[in-house]
Amino acid sequence: MNEKQILLAEDEFTARKLLEFQLKRLRITFDAVETGTDALERFRQGTYKLVLLDEYMPGLNGSEVAREIRRINPSLPLLAMTSDPEAVQRLQETGFREVFVKPLHGDAHLAIILGYLA
């Protein structure tokens, strides 16, 4: 069984690559995928401590993936990313523990991620 700390789904490549770069520097193990469908497939094949999902992705969006993941593992921390500040409350209400508003400048999001992995 594939065992990593984080499952990351982000379709926009600069955001995904920057996050990959930052996670590698922190020696965090992760799988990165580009779509919600791939995220679900990967989730079913592995074990993760945390799932970080972009909300706006082609096919399944972040909330839809989160709903399915919660059905399988209700206690797993789910974190969302969105570029729409107005979506934050809705995402929190759907059950995301944290919602990051993009662009992710600075390293506040990394501190929060590390907090969940500790």
Partner: protein, 282 residues
């Protein structure tokens, strides 16, 4: 109940903005409401007017705007406050008369001063382009005393003045590795060029417009632009994203042309900065 004849009013605004040089592409797309609207229907008025101002924004001739409607005793007046390009200030002078029908005022900002021209007044402002606008028109004529009045205000999300074409610090903060940043930037530019081609194809295609796809591509350029510090490109993409979302088919071509301009500007500025860094003078 107070009545505004929206169809005539909007047609007149379209005509006036057209004569000011704004590309009013929505003319064919937009159907004015057949019936009259009442002042008790401010949401509808706002929605219709927002369409115009998204046009203004995407035309790049105005970088911010505020519109105020005032209705008193059967007179509807409009105040349009905007930051216009110098070119627009000149063309404005020639079309001042046609705007009078709005019974309002038109204002613009030049060198940090807000000028308001009293379009409703019969007084002839001595606007000499060589001297620039005069401060004596900085006050709108007094409106009749309020009675049966209502005021609505629209403020647009707009381009922030002074936004950078390329801000290298954005990427440096997110990622201190120069080589990684350079590769990411090159990849972003290449993605952008592909996206622009795809948008061009989508907009010239004879099939019905795929607004979802256009929205997704614009969203992606916006997100990428914000990540790499291409702030003006991101702003242009945000504008297109909103237009696609609002189904403003007529303004998308204009938005694409702005995106293309911003992309080539970004590319030339980025290359210049990169080369200067790689080969410092001396």
């Amino acid at each position: 109940m107070s009545i505004i004849r929206l169809p005539e009013l909007i047609d007149q605004i379209l005509h006036d903005l057209s004569s000011l040089g704004f590309p009013i592409l929505i003319r064919n797309q937009y159907e004015p409401p057949a019936e009259q609207c009442t002042l008790q229907d401010p949401d509808r008025i706002s929605k219709i007017l927002t369409v115009f101002f998204m046009q203004l924004e995407s035309s790049r001739k105005v970088s911010s705007y505020r519109l105020e409607w005032d209705y008193r005793e059967g007179v509807l007046s409009a105040t349009l406050l905007g930051k216009f390009s110098p070119e627009m200030e000149n063309s404005f002078i020639h079309t001042r008369t046609s705007l009078q029908c709005l019974g309002g005022t038109l204002s613009f900002e030049k060198e940090g001063v807000l000028f308001t021209l009293p379009l409703a007044s019969s007084q002839k402002p001595s606007m000499d382009p060589s001297k620039g606008p005069s401060r004596e028109f900085s006050e709108a004529p007094p409106l009749p005393p309020a009675n049966d009045s209502a005021t609505y205000r629209l403020e647009g999300s707009h381009l922030e003045k002074g936004k950078s074409v390329f801000d290298p610090e954005v990427l440096q903060k997110a990622c201190p590795d120069e080589e990684f940043s350079r590769q990411l930037m090159e990849e972003f530019l290449s993605h952008c060029r592909n996206h622009l081609q795809e948008l061009e194809h989508l907009l010239t295609d004879e099939h019905p417009l795929d607004l979802v796809k256009i929205h997704r591509i614009a969203h992606s350029i916006k997100g990428g632009g914000l990540n790499v510090g291409a702030l003006r490109l991101a702003e242009a993409a945000r504008s297109m994203e909103q237009q696609a979302k609002a189904g403003m088919l007529g303004s998308l071509e204009n938005a694409l042309s702005r995106l293309k301009d911003e992309e080539s500007l970004l590319e030339s500025i980025y290359r210049e900065q990169y080369e200067r860094k790689a080969n410092p003078p001396g």
